[in-house]
C-alpha cells in the first residue's frame, strides 16, 4: 500500500457516519426517492456519495467486492485504511458489492441470503451517471404510498437479473448512486414497466 494514495475521510468521523447512516436508512425505507449525501469528495472513480456510504457501511466484519472499474489501487488503499474491510475476489462471498451500471451482470452471482437468514444477503452499491434517462419503471411496495415512477439509466438485462435473484424474503437490496445523490431499491419493491391506470 502506498501511503501517498491515502485521502481524507469524513471531517468528523462520528457525526459523518451517523448522518450518512441515517440517510441510508431513510433512502431504503422510501425506495425511489433521491437524497443528497454531500460529506466527502470523490475518491478516484468512486463518486462522493459512494465513498460516504462505503465509509459508513464497511468495516472489518464486512467483505466487499469491487467491480473491475472500481478496483483501483487508490480505492483499495483507502478502503483498507479507513474501513479495514477485506476485499474478496469472488462476488458470491461479498456482503457488499460496489459496481458501475455497466457491470450489473454480476448481481446474478451475489449472495441473496437464505429463507432462514435473508439478512445475510449482499447489498449492491451501483454507481450511475444520473437517475434520469432510462426506461420508465413503476415502483410499488413498502415505503411507497401508491406508486412511484423512476427512470433509472440501467439496461433491460439489469431488471431481468434482479427478477431472477428475487424470491422474497431472499433478494438483493440496492443503493443507486449518482454523484452526491443516493436512491435505494429494496428487495420488497415491485418494479413494473407499464403505468397502471
Amino acid at each position: 500500500m502506498n501511503s501517498n494514495d491515502l485521502k481524507p475521510a469524513f471531517d468528523n468521523p462520528v457525526s459523518g457516519s451517523r448522518q450518512s447512516f441515517r440517510l441510508a436508512l431513510k433512502a431504503m425505507s422510501e425506495p425511489g426517492l433521491s437524497h443528497e449525501l454531500r460529506l466527502v469528495d470523490a475518491l478516484d472513480t468512486l463518486a462522493p456519495a459512494s465513498y460516504a456510504l462505503a465509509l459508513t457501511l464497511l468495516d472489518s466484519d464486512t467483505k466487499v467486492w469491487l467491480s473491475p472499474a472500481l478496483d483501483t489501487p487508490v480505492i483499495r488503499a483507502n478502503l483498507a485504511f479507513h474501513c479495514a474491510c477485506p476485499v474478496v475476489e469472488q462476488p458470491q462471498d461479498a456482503d457488499f458489492a460496489l459496481m458501475l451500471a455497466s457491470e450489473t451482470g454480476v448481481i446474478a452471482s451475489l449472495n441473496a441470503g437464505t429463507d432462514r437468514d435473508p439478512d445475510q444477503s449482499c447489498t449492491a452499491l451501483i454507481q450511475l451517471d444520473s437517475f434520469e434517462g432510462g426506461v420508465p419503471t413503476v415502483w410499488q411496495g413498502p415505503g411507497i404510498e401508491t406508486q412511484r415512477q423512476v427512470c433509472l439509466p440501467v439496461n433491460q438485462a439489469f431488471w431481468q437479473t434482479r427478477q431472477a435473484v428475487s424470491a422474497f424474503p431472499r433478494g438483493i437490496d440496492m443503493f443507486f448512486i449518482a454523484g452526491e445523490q443516493i436512491m435505494a431499491l429494496s428487495r420488497s419493491t415491485q418494479v413494473n414497466f407499464q403505468v397502471e391506470n
Binding site: K7, P13, F81
Partner: protein, 147 residues
C-alpha cells in the same frame, strides 16, 4: 544498547516523538508552518498489550491501554503517522506532523532541531530518575555474628 542499534532511524524518531508529550508543544509553530491535511484526525481508542513471560513463553494479555493515533499529509507530499499513549490529541497531531517532516527533504534539519534535543531531554530525565532511585537503594546484608 543492541536493541537501540537494531532500530531503524524512523523507529528511533517515532519513539522520541511518542514520549515527547508536552515538550512537543514548544515546536508547534515550526511544525504547523507548512500546509497539511488530516487523513485520519486524531482519535482515541484502546489496544490490547500482549506479553510473554521471559520473552519466550506463551503470549498472554497484559491489559488494555489507551492510545491516540493520527495520520497527516503535508501538501509537499509526505505522510506522517503517530501512535501515542494517552488521550492528548494535540500531541498525536504534532507527532504525526513531525514524522511527515522527517520523511521529507529536510530530514537532517528536523533531526538536529527537533529529535536530538528531545532525545537528550528524555535521556537526562531518565538518568536523573535512575540516579534518584539509585540514591535510595538499600543493600541488605547479613551481619556476621561476632562470637
Amino acid at each position: 544498547m543492541t536493541a537501540q542499534a537494531n532500530k531503524t532511524l524512523r523507529q528511533q524518531w517515532m519513539q522520541v516523538l511518542a514520549r515527547a508529550g508536552d515538550a512537543l508543544m514548544s515546536f508547534e509553530t515550526e511544525l504547523t508552518r507548512s500546509a497539511y491535511r488530516k487523513i485520519r484526525a486524531p482519535e482515541t481508542g484502546m489496544v490490547m498489550v500482549r506479553g510473554r513471560t521471559g520473552g519466550t513463553g506463551q503470549a498472554f494479555n497484559v491489559g488494555e491501554m489507551t492510545v491516540t493515533r493520527c495520520v497527516v499529509r503535508l501538501d509537499e507530499g509526505s505522510t506522517g503517522y503517530s501512535y501515542i499513549t494517552g488521550r492528548n490529541k494535540r500531541h498525536a497531531e504534532l507527532a504525526a506532523l513531525a514524522d511527515a517532516h522527517l520523511q521529507g527533504n529536510d530530514q537532517a534539519h528536523w533531526m538536529a532541531t527537533l529529535i536530538q534535543p528531545l532525545q537528550l531531554q528524555q535521556q537526562q530525565k531518565r538518568s536523573q530518575r535512575e540516579a534518584e532511585v539509585a540514591a535510595s537503594k538499600v543493600s541488605f546484608f547479613t551481619m556476621v555474628r561476632g562470637d
